[in-house]
Amino acid sequence: MSGAVDRHVQRLLHMLESGRDPDAPYDPLARRDGLSQLGSLAGSTGAPPCLTETLYLSGVGRGRIYRPFPSRSPQPGLIYFHGGGFVAGGLETHDGVCRRLARASERVVVSATYRLAPEFAFPAAHVDARLAARAIARDALALGLDPERLALAGDSVGAGLAMSTCLALAQSDDIRFDRLGLICPILDLERDSPSRRLYPRGRFIEMDAVRRDFELYCPDPAIRAGAMASPLRAGDLSALPPTVIHTAELDPFRDDGEDLSARLETLGRQAVLVRHDRMVHYFYALPGLIPSAEPALDQFAKAMAADPQ
């Protein structure tokens, strides 16, 4: 492990550091605005065109459908949950990510929103993710999706939502997905781990603030440590389909994805793990600042491509 930082990432970290105020109050809503602006300034650079439609999900929120090409027959689909610490993120911040995923995986991507904290606490985000995925799976054909070739994916806490949803819907509705894709996943809201201790701050993520995000979403530590909020702690992973996991070397949450990969391997399950050296959490969503974001997402998307029928 080198610990060296990519030069483009280094520039981003310099920018962040020059605006850092150690005495600034914790302000998740300011971060929501900041991340949203960052998305429009650096998130969609080079994003390929897709056919897009807005999807209204009954009662829970909105989605955006990205079709990589027009088609009359049902196409493989991918339901996507954005990251943002449960307090930030949305369709716009991850628009570039979803376009790239759709084009490179040749799946129709459905980006689904969920309610955010502090306005809505646990289990709002988890419930919304389940309802959205269930509704999309049940209505797959009407949406032009092949119900036998539906995948779930997400980044950061959105990856945790994807995994938690995958396990829950297998049990409650016998809905099976053909792939699970996790980008820089946060799979445990309570654990300590070597990567968390190695990179507690100054690597895009400030662990103190993120811990407070988790507490805001889910104030009860026992619930934070439960398998719904922290799916790495789930006892039975047999419902997981072939899983694609991408981590970043300098991400405090790196161990979550890598430990899941090791567990799946021990269980004899199919898992692909890729670690991106010299990269930080969220690098994949900032192609305007970090050129490696594009090839990294393409590689992830290709591994998520459906098996040909």
């Binding site: 920018m15 605006g19 105020d21 300011a30 900041g34 602006q37 960052l38 300034l41 650096a42």
Partner: protein, 92 residues
Amino acid sequence: MSTTQADMLARIIAKVNDVLVARLKESAPDMVLIEGCSDLRTLGLDSLGAVNLMLSLETEFDLYIPQDRMKPQNFRSVAAIAALLSDLAKAA
């Protein structure tokens, strides 16, 4: 003050406004009152805001802010940003 300088200040203030208005939209719906020497941190500029401000300034003025100039003091006020941008323009 020359027209060019006044124009530069106006453009910097517009970009600072874009970054800060989102933060302060509840207390100041349209505009944040920014004076040349106002401390941008007290107006709500944080680390993500600084990234957004630098990216906006680079696009607006078609320049590249080198890492060794990314110091907190260079982004503390509109006046400080104007001085930095003038320096960078001279060096170019």
